[in-house]
Amino acid sequence: MEKLTLEEKKLDELGMLPINHSRIYSNLVTDINEENKLIRYSSKYNTDLLRSGKPRKIISKTINYSLFDEE
């Protein structure tokens, strides 16, 4: 919960949404391709798994060097 952000709406501002949507929690997702690097396929479990049992979720981001070419 520590990393979740509360997005709160007054009941008047809900429009066509039900009351339980007045408090919605969200968290940021980094690039899904970067997140996928944390995942490996396990043939034992026939499924994708996180690489570590307790992942620290520190992701090495890929740098696109072409962005710096113009500088």
Binding site: M1, E2, L4, K10, L11, D12, L14, M16, L17, P18, I19, N20, H21, S22, R23, I24, Y25, S26, N27, L28, V29, T30, I32, S43, K44, Y45, N46, T47, D48, L49, L50
Partner: protein, 332 residues
């Protein structure tokens, strides 16, 4: 052979598979959110799926045991990547799309039903994966449980009426709560308390039908996992933490709620058992609340609920019991 219907990242399935490996039993895990298996052929005696990794073929009717944990059979498994992408991009007419979707649904139901009917050992039920919360409240009441009084509101005026009637109310989703992700955010909703301050200056108008129920002041709550004829329960002391007091799923990871193995009383056991029997379910997770006067309130039954925390907090080794049941049809 054992067939397990599940999802990717479903942790309890992994632990059950650890036990199946230990007992040296063949199994197939079907994740509805991946494309490992593809339907090849169906006739009266066989339902052949091909493992796209190993190219090995499996007749699902060879299975003696099946566990419906979650998920099911996806469109991708029935169509394959090429036809699926054509189906998704080229079929524009909504009526044609509806007709094709209905054909896929019938096929999916046929496969799962036939596999379930063919197996002598079955755990879970794909037909009952989503129970209707309000119908379940009514059923629990009929079976002798106390259930928090609930109201479906359709107008802002009725929010104040519900607050006056019940004192304190909580909002819940009528179906499943929101769990949605976009490209850069994930969204969740929980059970939330509605306060009088929320209703100040509220203009009278119609609203989307919204479920609210009386807030029960709990002394603790119980999560009880049902497996065949036995209940395995833990008491969760979530009431003293403001983060978890209304919904314990807002986990406090710094100071987790204390959880202890708990034996539910015979009356509660009997009431729960008669709900499971009426539904025709042989597994599920029930949420209960104990109030200050020791009354037991029924909150919900989730047929595909998580049981990993009940297993570890209560030291029940539930995953081993599930594996033993899938292999032998009992717990020996």
């Amino acid at each position: 052979m054992i067939i397990i219907f599940s999802h990717q990242f479903e942790y309890s399935t992994n632990v059950v598979i650890d036990w199946l490996k230990k007992y040296n039993v063949n199994y197939i895990r079907i994740n509805s959110d991946e494309n490992r298996y593809k339907l090849k052929e169906i006739d009266e005696e066989k339902i052949i799926f091909c493992d796209m990794f190993t190219k090995k073929e499996y007749n699902f009717l060879d299975a003696h045991s099946v566990w419906y944990r979650r998920g099911g059979i996806s469109d991708r498994m029935l169509l394959g990547d090429d036809i699926l992408s054509e189906y998704e991009t080229n079929v524009c007419d909504p009526e044609v799309k509806k007709n094709l979707a209905s054909q896929l649904d019938y096929l999916r139901k046929y496969i799962i039903n036939k596999v379930f009917r063919n197996c002598s050992v079955k755990l879970g039920d794909p037909e009952l994966r989503d129970l209707n919360r309000m119908m379940l409240y009514d059923l629990a009441k009929k079976k002798g449980f106390l259930v928090p009084n609930y109201t479906v509101l359709t107008h802002t005026d009725s929010i104040n009426c519900a607050l006056k009637k019940h004192g304190a109310i909580v909002s819940k989703s009528i179906a499943n709560g929101l769990y949605h992700h976009t490209l850069n955010k994930r969204y969740y909703t929980y059970t939330e308390q509605i306060n009088e301050i929320d209703t100040i200056d509220l203009k009278p108008k119609n609203i989307f039908p919204s479920l609210v129920s009386e807030k029960i002041e709990k002394t603790f709550e119980i999560r009880s996992f049902f497996l065949i004829k036995e209940f395995y329960s833990v008491a969760i002391f979530s009431q003293n933490d403001s983060q978890t007091s209304v919904d314990y799923r807002k986990y406090n990871k710094k100071i987790p709620n204390r959880q202890e193995a708990y034996i539910i009383d015979d009356k509660t056991k009997y009431n729960l058992l008669s709900i499971y029997n009426e539904l025709g379910l042989n597994t599920g997770s029930a949420d209960l609340i104990i109030d200050a006067d020791n009354n037991v309130y029924f909150l919900e039954i989730n047929p595909v609920g998580q049981f990993g925390s009940v297993s570890s907090a209560g030291n029940y080794k539930l995953e081993k019991k599930v594996a033993q049941y899938l292999i032998h049809g009992d717990f020996n």
